[in-house]
Symmetry: none
Subunit: 296 residues, 2 copies
Amino acid sequence: MRFDLVDLQLFIAVADQRSITRGAERSHLALASASARIKGLEDALGVALLKRGRRGVELTAAGESLLDHARLVIHQIDAMRGDLASYASGVRASVHFLANTSGLSEHLPKALAGFLREHRDVAIDIEERESTDIAAAITAGAADLGFAAEHALPEHIERFPFSEDRLTLVTSRRGPFAGRRQIDFQEAGACEFVGLTSATALQMHISKHAARLGMRPHFRARLRDFDAICQMVAADVGVALVPEAAARRCAKTMPLAMVRLRDNWANRRLVICARNFKALARPAKMLVEHLRAEAM
Amino acid sequence: MRFDLVDLQLFIAVADQRSITRGAERSHLALASASARIKGLEDALGVALLKRGRRGVELTAAGESLLDHARLVIHQIDAMRGDLASYASGVRASVHFLANTSGLSEHLPKALAGFLREHRDVAIDIEERESTDIAAAITAGAADLGFAAEHALPEHIERFPFSEDRLTLVTSRRGPFAGRRQIDFQEAGACEFVGLTSATALQMHISKHAARLGMRPHFRARLRDFDAICQMVAADVGVALVPEAAARRCAKTMPLAMVRLRDNWANRRLVICARNFKALARPAKMLVEHLRAEAM
DNA sequence: CAAAGCCTTCGTCTAAGACGAAGGCTCTCT
DNA sequence: AGAGAGCCTTCGTCTTAGACGAAGGCTTTG
């Protein structure tokens, strides 16, 4: 790197002042040092940036271009400092938490909100991951805590149950199972479905068990969140499997019917997990205590 | 300047490799030098950037943010080198471009850097102006193109939308501004915030204007998506600035109140403009095509 | 328990980068 | 025409920033 940020700042000052002498002053450098730096910058870029005169300097076309770039760069550096200053002055304690799709959207926000209200000195840095990725990240020490489907976790990861992800079939009010309270999933074999985009662990879990039942569900649409899915279902585009918590919430504002599934696999156990609960830092331990209390 | 471009490039290498050792190799530095530079960077910014482990390093939240910024800066430096290299080797075409502060800091650098990289024979002579001044300069033929808030433009100036930053403050139903339809952002100065995790253009924009108002927002939690942010807000963890579209959607299913901001910076449609797009010289036309492709 | 892997610290050395002073050149004024 | 002013470049000198190798410290793995 044959020039640096001081060079760029100096160049901006020289351009503004139309003078290496005054630009040097502005940059708190000796004239000789400033002159050498500008010369070094020109050498590094292989092009003349200034026309030297006895009444100061003028920018060449290349110099004008460099000035624009230099301003953008320094602007970016200032934004960076400002942003990092926010981190430097922010909350002291932070818990790094990974959650799967259901956890992030349905089970966790209220519980985490309660914790944050009670512990004003702690921040939670939460990210969405697949359950298997959560297992890997926690094993690697890249996160303090996780919220994942239990079946996706290897044995060495410690866990306690937090909630159940009881999958519910949602249909329109006049749907194919109107009046039924529960069915076997196989009874939905002839239905058209609305589902999540296929990247999520939940959708893969559903697809795997459908395949085991010899079903090949046809998806009319794939969407990113449960609200959009339920809107489609309410509009009779198809039926959908969504977590019961999401189904209840959406049923308050949409004409939906909910039908339970008798299948065992439709009832996933969701757990809070860590590599070693005892080894957690104090803020994470406090969060764990809170979540134990909030668990089913 | 207590860090330099070598520091930023080293940090990017370390982040990519998840290892100071391998990052040092990538940057052709001794391990000790790399370790000292990273430490110096953390001292300069006043925040930990890495979690050191015996299997390498992980980024902290601040480190993630710095990584985003560092990539933008190095990207800009590369564009600058490329542009100046063209001057070193021959004659160039130039586009005179005026942008307001938001455009210059948030919306344009990536698009313009991308254009400059792809079109090494074109230079962009960019200057910062207020939106009304941009209108006057374009009318007078003093600039080829502008990036301005649409409301500031007279009718005769041609434009197409490039981006929007229509921000809304969301609070719980019984939040601090219950019953208020709009406020000045400064009135939220005492509030605690829920925000986005990494250095998004949006978050940087908000932070910059907060700083201009002398505010230092405190973030209780940083999350990745607007739904989770709004659930936290609904549970009274804090308030948040989110795009109005996201706020409306979430308010359908969550007990949220939306409060408009009177601040100009929170509520603008941003457009690319010219006196006559058809009459532009070829380099400017190429830039317009590039920006249309980049537009919302 | 030893070895491996990774980061930090220490001591040493080199040269980058700072400065003051002087030289060189052009323009302006007397 | 010559002196003085203004501005940039070059030179010599000095300080310390930044490089390195080596070793220490800690955790994980076999």
